[in-house]
């Protein structure tokens, strides 16, 4: 899966993370090529958010490695990972509610690697998210959930990262707003940026991504391609294992993890 000359942009190599004695991610391996969109789906508690936090070095590893363009991230702190070109849109948006929209964007620019082009990067996100420009001087906490999500994505984009990690961008949003978010993601993909998307809305994420990994209990249970999104039995099998493929209707992806 890896060409011998160029390593994949992101390579997760039997990564393990534990919270105390509880394993959250177990020997996880996956790779993401430059320009690819890869989704990570799976039930609650599957380790999706932990995997992204581990790539950012926001949680420590108990084993394995993560490499960006062939370079190990193992000795870096989160701010150094950000400055290497990975930007995270965290779960629950996590914009700074007490800071203005513009201040949030300025914080996003800290991790920029190029000294020039900051103004163009800002203009680009204003064009993509007009709502952000409208409310520049407003405290970000006053924006609606969907607007905050757009701000969180814009804040990540102004760093012009090589790799964009999105954690549950549709969480808690109304369906119409989710459409807005996904069309923004489509535009980001069209611009050639590499995306790793964690989502509980599995069907939508799988259909959007080039490839998907199904995570359960911290391990990769299955791999899917976009076409699998419309194949309900295939999805069910991927989520719950082959033996339960015939059992009942498609369970909502947001539902609890199977016992």
């Amino acid at each position: 899966m890896t060409s011998p000359t160029t390593p994949p942009l992101l390579e997760i190599d039997s990564l393990s993370v534990r919270y105390g004695s509880v394993p959250a991610v177990r020997k996880l391996s996956m790779s993401v090529g430059a320009g690819e969109v890869v989704a990570i789906v799976g039930p609650n508690g599957a380790g999706k958010t932990t995997a992204l936090s581990a790539v950012m070095r926001m949680v420590g590893w108990s084993g394995g490695d993560v490499r960006l363009g062939g370079e190990s991230l193992g000795r870096l702190s989160p701010d150094q990972v950000a400055r290497r070109g990975i930007a995270l849109v965290p779960e629950g948006r996590q914009i700074f509610a007490n800071l203005t929209v513009l201040e949030n964007l300025r914080l996003g620019m800290i991790a920029r690697r190029s000294k020039t082009g900051a103004a163009q990067a800002l203009d680009a996100v204003y064009e993509q998210f007009p709502i952000v420009k409208t409310f520049l001087d407003r405290p970000a906490g006053l924006l609606s959930g969907g607007q905050q999500q757009q701000l969180a994505i814009a804040r990540a984009l102004v760093a012009e990262p090589d790799l964009l990690l999105l954690d549950e961008p549709s969480l808690g949003l109304a369906p119409a707003v989710i459409d807005t978010v996904f069309s923004a993601l489509a535009a980001i993909r069209a611009s050639g940026r590499t995306i790793v998307l964690v989502e509980q809305r599995a069907q939508r994420a799988i259909a959007f991504a080039d490839r998907s990994y199904v995570l359960a209990e911290g391990v990769v249970r299955d791999r899917l391609v976009a076409a699998d999104a419309s194949d309900a039995p295939r999805l069910r099998a991927a989520y719950f294992g082959a033996d339960t493929a015939a059992a009942g209707p498609v369970v909502r992806a947001e539902g609890p993890a199977p016992r």
């Binding site: 701010d79 700074f96 007490n98 914080l107 800290i110």
Partner: protein, 293 residues
């Protein structure tokens, strides 16, 4: 007219405590650490003034500033940075230990007996407007206090490092994931706290000219009470709290009948208890706001 005089004195003392409180509040905001050793910064500066007696005043003040900043940075680097991920209780005990250690060193080196700082004693002179007697020190305290508080506000609001401090104060994990270097922010907070502590020291020195090992502790404890009374979560409310406690201290002192002044602390802390009971989240904190800067 008597009360106007009390008011003027109270504003002056309030400004000094506001400076100390802002230093404590900034470090708490950025690191979630209650720095019980903050007062020892003033103490270190105080002994520097004692040791440099005879030098030109401006050189003495700058030397004290340098010593205070170095002590603040050593405190951060040697005692607090290794505990960055420790629990608040652990760091609290650490700052207590640092405070105790520094005071013990001072006692060993300079004894428990007071040493004269002998700085800007001329500022104790006063001029009169009608019945009002205004010390030059009062003017200096209010002006320096206002200028420094304004400068810190501008720094936090307008500069990149200030923005990063505010971000780190509200969510350090996310700030770091955006590229904020935690160590830069923390060092910045300690440098500012050192500057504010030195300014307060220089203004305390003319009216409390004797430095002892407990000199800083007495000031910092009261400032810390002010910070809690004002509300720890925001630098502005912490500062107002510091001002309040200094103001109240001076007012209670003036209003108590001469023979009753031994009850100053009882009256002051009684007031503190009432404030905390009525507004537990802080006097200058908006109600029900818990998760903000």
């Amino acid at each position: 007219m008597k009360y106007v005089q009390y008011l003027i004195d109270a504003v002056a003392l309030g400004s000094l405590y506001a400076l100390v409180a802002l230093g404590i509040g900034l470090i708490f905001g950025v690191m979630r650490i209650v720095n019980l050793a903050h007062g020892e910064l003033l103490m270190a500066g105080g002994y520097t003034l004692y040791e440099t007696d005879g030098w030109p005043a401006i050189v003495r003040v700058l030397t004290a500033l340098a010593v205070v900043i170095v002590v603040a940075l050593l405190m951060e680097r040697l005692a607090l940075r290794p505990l960055r991920h420790a629990s608040p209780t652990t760091t609290l005990v650490m700052t207590f230990a640092v405070s105790f250690l520094l005071r013990s060193i001072a006692q060993k080196r300079w004894s428990a007996q007071g040493k004269s700082m002998n700085l800007f004693t001329d500022l104790n002179r006063a001029f009169t407007i009608g019945e009002l007697r205004i010390k030059y020190l009062t003017i200096a305290a209010v002006v320096v206090g206002a200028v420094l508080l304004g400068a810190v506000t501008v720094f936090l609001d307008r500069t990149d490092l200030g923005l990063q401090m505010r971000a780190a104060a509200s969510d350090v994990r996310i700030a770091q994931a955006l590229g904020v270097r935690t160590n830069h922010v923390v060092v910045g907070a300690f440098v500012i706290a050192g500057i504010l502590a030195t300014a307060a020291l220089v203004l305390f020195a003319p009216q409390r000219p004797v430095v002892t090992p407990d000199f800083g502790l007495q000031i910092a404890i009261l400032a810390l009470v002010g910070v809690v009374v004002g509300g720890m979560d925001k630098p502005s409310s912490a500062t107002l709290g510091g001002f309040f406690i200094g103001f109240a201290n001076s007012m209670v002192f003036s209003l108590l009948p001469k023979g009753q002044r031994v009850f100053l602390d009882s009256a002051l802390y009684g007031l503190v208890i009432v404030v905390l009971l009525v507004r537990p989240s802080g006097l200058f904190q908006r109600e029900n706001v818990t998760s903000r800067l």
